[in-house]
Amino acid sequence: MSRIKDTFAALAGTRAALIPFITGGDPTLSATVPLMHALVRAGADLIEVGMPFSDPMADGPAIQMAHQRALAAGATTRAIIDLVAAFRRDDTRTPVILMGYVNPVEVMGYGVFARACQTAGVDGVLLVDMPPEEAVEWRAEASRAGLDTIFLLSPTTSVERLAVIGAASTGFLYYVALKGVTGASHLNVAEVAARLAIVRKSAALPVGVGFGIRDARSAAEVGRFADAVIVGSAIVEKMAAGTSTEAAIAGTEAFVRDLRAALVRGGGARS
């Protein structure tokens, strides 16, 4: 029923899923759908698409600049949803998760946004600055539209809060691997592994790990114990480095292929 659930079920016991993050509309709206297909060719299991926001408080410089480029190129929340619909015309299998900040969604209206996502073929939504405590109305609308609601866990999340967040989440749990913003470079893999063992005791859902995974080596290390490896800033930087949109997509595809190759059989702790 849920593409996200099916994808994790199919991978269970084999390897960690790979979830690349891109900013929708970066550098142009027309680049995003070809890029999404390239990510799938490179081995992405799910795709996370960022909805640009003027004030991305949880993001480091790489994704901040991607948001600014996308907004300058005319990206809006509706335009990003339309891009997913366009992607769905050729790919009905790969789960797509939208990630963004509350305000544009609140301004559109939770119900309107959720129904538009459902129609377009979006599978799940993560609103970075909306913890479960503030999400009662949003969760009701998302559930009505068949969308998974993904929430963050972090190194500062208490054991009591793990239960609250687990109860509010569907699809998978997103563990933020370090204290900081996206694109940070102080990942401590042993620490993450230890924390994840605690998270798993109370989590009924698969657990993805993101923030601070920058290359094939760190992806492989995290992939040994996580159900999914989420890579954002490093991919957004590859897109920014291309001399043309085509070259940027090709460079990003090659990078994601390397990440995928690093996630070998035997990884993924949950069977």
């Binding site: 004030d55 949880a58 900040y101 305000n103 609140e106 503030e134 500062t156």
Partner: protein, 402 residues
């Protein structure tokens, strides 16, 4: 009926709350707990009271501005002289409170955002006094227009970080401070400068600033033997206004006026008056409130001659006070604020901050309307020394254009 806001999760009606990424949820819960304990601790309150008296110079005077009153031809205008506080504005009331709390929590490093630089100076000041390190985030545009305060912060030992992304003003400084806090949360205390941000900040900052209204109410009763007809204060995030209003909320006969920045005029769209323009409700910097955004929910660039009011949102308690009808919100444009700046300077020998000049401009209009039997209090929230260059540059430019 007695005023009881916010609820236990920091909601003022539909406003406020705690809209932050998960990394900050635990630290905010810790802060809330530590603040609740400190608030109930007589030793903490005694230290705060002693600092207010001996370090800030409280109580600040309530001054009857006779020549301004004569000029406005109406109600007697009293000025609550927060400009006479140490560091020159009301901001220090809050930074002393938060710094004492930071020390109590064992934090070694303070960070702050600043617009006009007054909150940055007030944070750098208390950091110097308590031997804590201090980093202040400030938009590049504000660094250019408030240079004297940047120099003061550096003299006090603070590192001033220029924020060059986004609109390069207060909102971007706050984004950057939040990013720092998420990264360094174990050792850092984030000193938010206004009644905005995630719970418990709007409540905590209000409580520290409430001393303004508590004093003003007592001082006015002593002078006039009755309550004032109205209170007037400028509103950016809204901390000096909440501070003045709070002791009077249950005094239904006292009218409360918050004065926002109309910038180039409400019709121009180049303003910073989300309440007056009724620009809609949204979520920014951890709280739901009135907010300025476009049809896609992207935060709009704002404009005001005063850096301290140049912010697209407003504290959630103001949103609640507007909806409940307890306070009214109006807006004053750059030219009117500038005129009031000159009027007070020439008639009373007091240089007001450009932020406070917005309140002074509206107070004169209101005084004329209320008539000579009435009396009102304006919060003179800060002094204008920092604005001398801005005023000269603005008027130089206007003269050149003319």
């Amino acid at each position: 009926m007695s005023y009881e806001q916010p609820d236990e999760r920091g909601h003022f009606g539909p406003y406020g709350g705690r809209f932050v990424a998960e990394t900050l949820m635990g630290p905010l819960a810790d802060l809330e707990r530590a603040y609740r304990e400190a608030r109930g601790d007589p030793a903490f309150q005694a230290e705060l009271a002693a600092d207010f008296r001996d370090y800030v110079g409280r109580p600040s005077p309530l001054y009857l501005a006779e020549r301004l009153t004569a000029h406005a031809r109406g109600a007697r205008i009293y000025l609550k002289r927060e400009d006479l506080n140490h560091t020159g504005a009301h901001k220090v009331n809050n930074t002393i409170g938060q710094a004492l709390l930071a020390r109590r929590m064992g934090k070694k490093r303070l960070i702050a955002e600043t617009g006009a630089g007054q909150h940055g100076v007030a944070t750098a000041t208390v950091a110097a006094r308590l031997g804590l390190s201090c980093v202040v985030y400030m938009g590049a545009e504000d660094i250019a227009r408030q240079a004297p305060n940047v120099r003061r912060m550096r003299l006090l030992g603070a590192e001033v970080v220029s924020v060059t992304l986004g609109s390069r003003t207060l909102k971007d400084a706050m984004n950057e401070a939040m990013r720092d806090w998420a990264t360094t949360v174990d050792e850092t205390f984030y000193v938010i400068g206004t009644v905005s941000g995630p719970h418990p900040y709007p409540t905590m900052v209000r409580d520290f600033q409430a001393v303004i209204g508590q004093e003003a109410r007592r001082q006015f009763l002593e002078r006039e033997g009755r309550l004032p007809h109205a209170l007037v204060a400028c509103v950016g995030g809204g901390s000096n206004a909440i501070g003045l209003f709070h002791a009077f909320l249950d005094d239904a006969a006292v009218a409360l006026y918050g004065v926002e920045a109309a910038g180039k005029g409400l019709a121009s769209g180049r303003h910073a008056a989300p309440l007056t323009a009724d620009s809609g409700r949204g979520v920014l910097h951890g709280a739901r409130s009135y907010l300025m955004f476009d049809e896609d929910g992207q935060i709009r660039d704002t404009h005001s001659i005063s850096a301290g009011l140049d912010y697209p949102g407003v504290g959630p308690e103001h949103a609640w006070l507007k909806d409940s009808g307890r306070a009214r919100y109006v807006a004053v444009d750059d030219e009117e604020a500038l005129a009031a700046f000159h009027t007070l300077t020439r008639l009373e020998g007091i240089l007001p901050a450009l932020e406070s000049s917005h309140a002074l401009a509206y107070a004169q209009t209101l005084a004329a309307r209320l008539g000579p039997e009435a009396a009102l209090i304006v919060n003179l929230s800060g002094r204008g020394d920092k604005d001398v260059e801005t005023v000269a540059a603005y008027e130089g430019a206007s003269t050149c254009r003319a």
